[in-house]
């Protein structure tokens, strides 16, 4: 059976230090939560078609650690880890996120809040990524680009339309 596509992820920048990712799924929230928090399942989607997830460790309790490592086809390894801060099963998960590829990584940890809201068997997932600094947020999205990016998503919508 064909998989129902629920559309693409939507990314906005609510403030200088935040990234908000939103996506709707054609599944109840307890299954989305399961896919999000079960290592064998995380290995199947975290790679984003950019390689393979070699490590997915999840110690799902407050104070417990998580760590994901993926390897691109040309051998580039990317690791993230963090600590669970708040857990409401099937609804809300707050955890820190450290990108292991930068100096002083721990100081630049982001705080991620996952929320799942179900309506009529469909689930809206949001991830709010909060960085201690705007620079950290910008680096999170793309380390290769320097500059003073501000929240300009309304403008970007216009740009997207004008490029169509």
């Amino acid at each position: 059976m064909a998989v129902t596509s629920s559309g693409s992820a939507k990314v906005t920048l609510p403030t200088d230090q935040q990234i908000l990712i939103t996506r709707e799924f054609d599944a109840p929230k307890h299954l989305v939560y399961k896919a999000w928090t079960t290592p064998e399942l995380v290995k199947r989607w975290w790679h984003a078609n950019r390689g393979e997830v070699t490590i997915a460790e999840i110690d799902l309790r407050v104070g417990g650690m998580w760590r994901y490592v993926s390897v691109t086809p040309d051998g580039f390894e990317v690791g993230f880890h963090g600590e669970y801060r708040e857990i409401v099963a099937n609804e809300r998960l707050v955890a820190t996120e450290v990108y292991e590829g930068i100096p002083d990584a721990e100081e630049h940890a982001a705080l991620n809040t996952l929320t799942l809201t179900e309506v009529d068997g469909r689930t809206t997932l949001t991830v709010l990524v909060e960085h201690p600094t705007k620079e950290g947020r910008d680096a999170h999205i793309n380390s290769g680009m320097e500059g003073g990016m501000q929240d300009a998503m309304d403008l970007l919508e216009q740009v997207a339309i004008s490029l169509r």
């Binding site: 059976m1 998989v3 129902t4 596509s5 629920s6 693409s8 992820a9 939507k10 990314v11 920048l13 990234i19 990712i21 996506r23 799924f25 054609d26 599944a27 299954l31 989305v32 399961k34 896919a35 399942l41 199947r44 989607w45 975290w46 790679h47 984003a48 078609n49 950019r50 997932l125 999205i141 793309n142 680009m145 320097e146 500059g147 003073g148 990016m149 501000q150 300009a152 998503m153 309304d154 403008l155 970007l156 216009q158 740009v159 997207a160 004008s162 490029l163």
Partner: protein, 116 residues
């Protein structure tokens, strides 16, 4: 470490709130500077200064029509900003597409077991 000069690229050009207002206004269509002065409630020299920065990065084009100078948005100059966010968005989109596959399986497994 040092920040690039304000006019270096589109990213810095749109980092200034007033310049984003100008771009928003121009997204609605071509306008003379007087319109922008009125819409932003700024003095003309300030608006002109912002327009100059936007022109330097190519975010705004200008043409003369009679005695008026008309400004318009050039979306292509802002494409790097758009792409910057879009790349990130695309990575998440692909993750979520894989999650769709996983979720279909989980739904089926649950259906095969006990009904709710």
């Amino acid at each position: 470490m040092a920040r690039a000069a304000t006019t270096a690229d589109a990213f810095n050009a749109v980092a200034e709130p007033r310049r984003r207002q100008i771009l928003d206004a121009l997204a609605g269509g071509e306008r003379p500077v007087n319109d922008l002065v009125r819409m932003l409630g700024l003095a003309q020299p300030q608006v002109s200064k912002h327009l100059r920065v936007l022109r330097e990065v190519g975010a705004v084009d200008v043409r003369d029509q009679g005695r008026q100078r008309l400004y318009r948005l050039n979306g292509h100059a802002l494409k790097p900003i758009h792409d910057w966010v879009k790349n990130y968005e695309r990575a998440w989109s692909e993750r979520f597409e894989q999650m769709d596959v996983v979720l279909e399986e989980l739904k089926k497994e649950e259906g095969d077991g006990s009904d709710e």
